[in-house]
């Protein structure tokens, strides 16, 4: 493996890691910060992808189309859905055992999967990236690199910095983190924790749907697609340290590199490498890489 190929593989690893963080960012909010074990995160991601496919023509007809217009409409719809979902299904679960959340979100997976089948059918669909992002950059003599993947990495970095800034540098972030550690205390300090949780949940769902929409042109849109990302998202949040955004970003990059180079050097063990990595990290640091924040 000569040096230029090694550099390209590093770029692949970096890009895959950033994509993983983007996909797991919604879970970092809902599971990491709020402590809700949300198995339906894969479904939110799938909803995003199907929105990117279904909304494009509708937005095209009404608002004159454009990738970013569809994105904006999708995220707004997602935040509304998140607000209603939290009120209807989650607001009474915070006092109950964690496992009640597992049961509730398992039910939601089944419901969303079937609603998708009823509304959008079972075929496989593709989503075209916007024209000005559809080109490729030359990379060495044989290969080129799709510009859209660099766009995804950009979106991911922006999101990571944004979330990190909001949660560690602003009062809102501080209140939310305090809320997740001691809900009653924050309530007694006069902060309307119910509304705050609803906002964070809606933001979590919005980010997950954004990830689905942005990744759709790369991942394509097919039934049961949420299922394949669910486990890897939990692995990322837990390795990084629950509640830590820096941790989730580092964990995503780590998995990006291990998965990419694992496929090249240890193909027969590629499937198991990510889990060996997680087991080693958690046995070395039982609370994940970073403390919260």
């Amino acid at each position: 493996m000569d040096f230029s190929i090694f550099l390209i593989q590093c770029l692949n690893a970096l890009q895959y890691g950033l994509l993983l963080f983007l996909v797991a960012s919604g879970l970092t909010l809902i599971f990491g910060i709020m402590g809700v074990i949300n198995l339906a995160h894969g479904s939110f991601y799938m909803i995003g992808a199907y929105m990117a496919y279904a909304l494009a023509p509708i937005v095209g007809a009404t608002l004159g189309g454009g990738f970013f217009a569809t994105l904006a409409v999708g995220v707004v719809l997602a935040v509304l859905l998140g607000y209603v979902l939290e009120w209807a299904f989650f607001s009474f679960l915070y006092e109950r055992e964690h496992l009640q959340q597992v049961l509730m979100t398992y039910g939601l997976i089944l419901v969303f999967e079937e609603l998708r089948s009823l509304l959008a059918g079972d075929e496989v669909h593709g989503v075209a990236p916007p024209d000005f992002l559809a080109g490729t950059l030359a990379l060495g003599d044989v290969m080129t690199y799709p510009v859209y993947r660099l766009f995804i990495s950009g979106v991911c970095l922006a999101l990571a910095l944004g979330m990190y800034f909001v949660f560690t540098r602003t009062r809102l972030g501080m209140m939310i983190r305090a809320g997740s550690t001691n809900r009653e205390m924050v309530q007694s300090l006069g902060i309307d924790i119910k509304f705050l949780y609803r906002v964070v949940f809606a933001a979590g769902l919005g980010v997950a749907v954004l990830a689905g929409m942005v990744a759709a042109p790369v991942s394509s849109v097919y039934p049961n697609m949420g299922d394949s990302v669910l486990i890897i998202c939990f692995v990322i949040v837990v390795i990084g340290g629950i509640g830590s955004i820096r941790g989730a970003l580092l964990a995503a990059l780590l998995i990006g590199f291990v998965d990419t180079f694992g496929k090249v050097f240890l193909p027969q063990a590629a499937g198991v490498l990510v889990y060996v990595l997680m087991a080693l990290i958690l046995l070395w640091k039982p609370d994940g890489l970073f403390k919260a924040g």
Partner: protein, 389 residues
């Protein structure tokens, strides 16, 4: 005394005759158990197979071998661990006479075992696992689709004849992928080619960037691949995205571009694949089938619909030979082995391993269709390794 005896014989014979005659007219309905995926990633394939099957039955006026057809459906959700229970539901609760299923190889394997143990007639409308008509073959288990080996072998032959020397293969690490690449390698190396590297990644992982870079590094003359469904869509788009499409030609088994062209768009243009069916065959049989299918279901038929349609044809041929009596297994099998199935894909016969002996077509993608280029292999028979039939 002898008179009375002979009279008795006469009456007995008459009775038997009436009984069989009576049963011929008022034979009970033939219960056909459809065990297909109606949920999950292969849901659209399951529906296509059912549509194809039902279309042939309606064309025959709702009767096969003189017996009314009654359908019993079960969703196998492509989950092998629940397959045995689903099959038992059909055989023991609904006591179906014939089993049709399934798409996922693991599910089909479980079904074949139960069918083998209970002796129920079974026709596999899709799963291409070699073992079903190989190590696990049974006299009452037939297949109307293909074996992974066939499409792989045909492409190996084509690429060897094109004078391609060095090839890299890439697929998911599961039975279907291994068998397809195995068939390809067998024909390609027999034709003087060399497989320089076999890349694979865990199923259902779809992150191909690392291996695409590996392909660029090894700079082979061409690439052979097997992917299906969502994986196929993503692989073709990534392959084009990394610019390999221009420099290293991509060949594959037909499923790379079947049912996925709409999602792949321009990235799939010009791709060469081999499969036992193609669009625009424009034989009279195929055009009639496509017209009727489009009218009935408002959809363009794909290879899965053809396989469902042929499963019904095979059942019809067998039932006609045994006059609707599914207990006569040997005659049913013999009839099929002699029959020539007039399929939309082109006529094919059934090998003694109960797998179709069929032409494999070379096709090229142009304008969202897999246009026929030539016949890659004429009447290709799966070797059915390990089958003692």
């Amino acid at each position: 005394m002898t008179q009375t005896k002979s009279r008795l014989h006469l009456i007995a014979a008459a009775a038997i005759f009436c009984a069989s005659a009576a049963s011929a007219q008022t034979q009970p309905k033939l219960k056909v158990g459809l065990m297909l995926p109606y949920t999950g990633t292969y849901a659209s394939l399951g529906t296509a197979i059912e549509n194809g099957f039902k279309q042939f039955v309606t064309e025959q006026g709702g009767k096969l071998g003189g017996r009314e057809i009654e359908f019993v459906k079960v969703d196998d959700a492509s989950d092998p661990s629940k397959a045995t229970d689903n099959v038992n539901k059909l055989i023991k609760r609904d006591n179906v006479d014939v089993l049709i299923g399934s798409v996922h190889s693991g599910v089909a394997m479980a079904m074949a075992k139960v069918a083998k143990d209970t002796g129920t007639l079974m026709i596999v409308p899709n799963a291409g696992a070699g073992a079903i008509t190989g190590a696990m073959c049974a006299p009452n288990v037939f297949r109307s689709s293909f074996s992974m080996w066939q499409s792989g072998y045909a492409m190996g032959d084509v690429m060897a004849k094109k004078g391609i020397k060095k090839v890299v293969t890439i697929t998911w690490k599961y039975a279907a992928g291994d068998e397809s690449v195995g068939g390809f390698k067998e024909a390609f190396e027999k034709g003087g080619g060399q497989v320089v590297k076999e890349l694979n990644l865990p199923f259902p992982n779809v992150e191909f960037q690392a291996l695409l870079t590996e392909i660029a590094a090894t700079k082979p003359d061409a690439v052979y691949t097997f992917f299906a469904g969502g994986g196929a869509v993503k692989f073709v788009k990534d392959y084009a995205g990394t610019g390999l499409k221009k420099s290293i030609p991509l060949y594959g088994a037909g499923f790379l571009t079947d049912g996925t062209l709409e999602a792949q768009g321009a990235d799939a243009d010009g791709l060469l694949t081999t499969l036992h069916y193609a669009d625009a065959l424009n034989t009279p049989r195929d055009n009639a089938f496509r017209l009727a299918y489009a009218k009935a279901y408002k959809l363009q038929p794909d290879v899965y619909a053809v396989q469902g349609y042929d499963a019904a044809q095979m059942l019809g041929v067998g039932l006609a030979a045994v006059k609707g009596d599914t207990t006569k297994k040997a005659e049913f099998a013999a009839a099929l082995h002699k029959a020539k199935i007039d399929s939309p894909r082109g006529a094919f016969t059934i090998s003694k391993f109960n797998n179709p002996v069929q032409d494999i077509y070379l096709r090229q993608v142009s304008g969202k269709e897999n246009k026929l280029v030539s016949i890659a292999s004429k009447a290709l028979t799966d070797p059915g390794r390990g089958c003692k039939l």
